[in-house]
Assembly symmetry: C2
Homo-oligomer: 226 residues x 2
């Protein structure tokens, strides 16, 4: 808009009749400034929680001795050593009741191919759908945190702490007891995200994992701050 | 491997001399089973914390009245209403001291173009590098949680609870007070992840966000569990 006005201004003062490097530079600057303004101009977006992006996990727990699962994007690592993961879980969900029953749970990472069943688990309650039959379940060290064999990576956790009655969700903090990965998803002894192909979530939908863009603790070494 | 042995077996019993659909089918099944085994066969990977993928955030806090920032992948939403985010933060970091000083902090989401400076912030301590000069800082409702104008999305939080002396990191749970987004990153009134282009992290490195693969609470509706 401001560019158009500027051009009209230039025409009106008869400056645009001759080819003028100076004018073109000014136009360029105006354009760059408008780009920067749209980037930098902030708008208040409210209190709806966001993560860019959310991870997509399937949390598992036994409820009345049977595996149940729920799809959860409210999850994050919160401690390196001992490894801990915090979840935000609705207390009414069957899987949440299972977590409170056994004080254990699992976190399973589905991959792109599992996006439909992942969403299906999120849509349907364990009260109406028999989720223990959706997958091949297995148990690890804790014996009562059910895990999904079809998921490339599984983590079993013991409940470290819960924070309840704080709003729509309870906070469950779990200590990582063991991690399991399918042998197809390991490169040189480490779980390889490029083989796992995990799903991410934003309120707009599910997204795939993109491309490698740099090594951590490395790519920033040659950042020139000036 | 098992396919090779099977071929030798077939040769030895002279079955492979004739073209045999049945043999080819058996080979196919063996191959498919070996694929499935590699997928389903699990290996213990220990207690190192993982998220597939981790988000990449730059957490900000004022320390002695000056903005400081640290790069954090240990972050996740843990409550919908009121919106809450949990962080795992090293107590020795300057930004962490700032969080304890003011009981406020910000979460800033860098995009792909900011990957170098994001890593730079993660590598270098506020004790040796003047991080307040790296960006155009701004303040919101809380007045003392510094935010980064160059980041597409910023969230300001008030500390709701901290859990200390539990290991290498402290857990800080913040209540979301306000979210800010650059006007360039909004589509139909919502923050648009496809415009934000956030970075994700795994121990292997930084990754871009991939492609849209489906709508949540929608794509699973037609999942056929049989």
């Amino acid at each position: 808009m401001s560019i158009t006005i500027y051009i009209w201004y230039l025409i009106s003062i008869e400056k645009i009749n001759e080819f003028n490097i100076d004018i073109l530079n000014k136009l360029d600057n105006l354009y760059n400034r408008s780009i920067k303004e749209g980037f930098m101009e902030k708008k208040k977006m409210g209190k709806k929680p966001n993560m860019f992006p959310f991870p997509v996990t399937i949390v598992g727990a036994n409820y009345k001795c049977k595996p149940n699962y729920m799809t959860i994007a409210f999850a994050g690592v919160v401690n390196m050593n001992p490894g801990m993961i915090a979840l935000g879980v609705n207390a009414k969900h069957v899987t949440t009741r299972g977590i409170y029953e056994n004080k254990t749970f699992s976190i399973n990472f589905p991959n792109e191919e599992m996006v439909k069943v992942t969403d299906y688990i999120g849509i349907n309650s364990g009260k109406t759908v028999e989720k223990s039959k959706l997958f091949e379940n297995f148990y690890g060290q804790l014996k009562n945190a059910p895990m999904i064999k079809e998921c490339p990576v599984n983590i079993e956790c013991r409940v470290y702490k819960t924070i309840q009655d704080i709003g729509s969700d309870d906070i469950v903090i779990g200590e990582i007891i063991e991690t399991y990965a399918g042998t197809d998803f390991i490169t040189h002894g480490e779980i390889d995200i490029e083989k796992v192909k995990p799903i991410t979530f934003s309120w707009k939908g599910y997204y795939s994992t993109g491309n490698f863009i740099g090594k951590a603790w490395e790519i920033g070494k040659n950042y020139n701050k000036d």
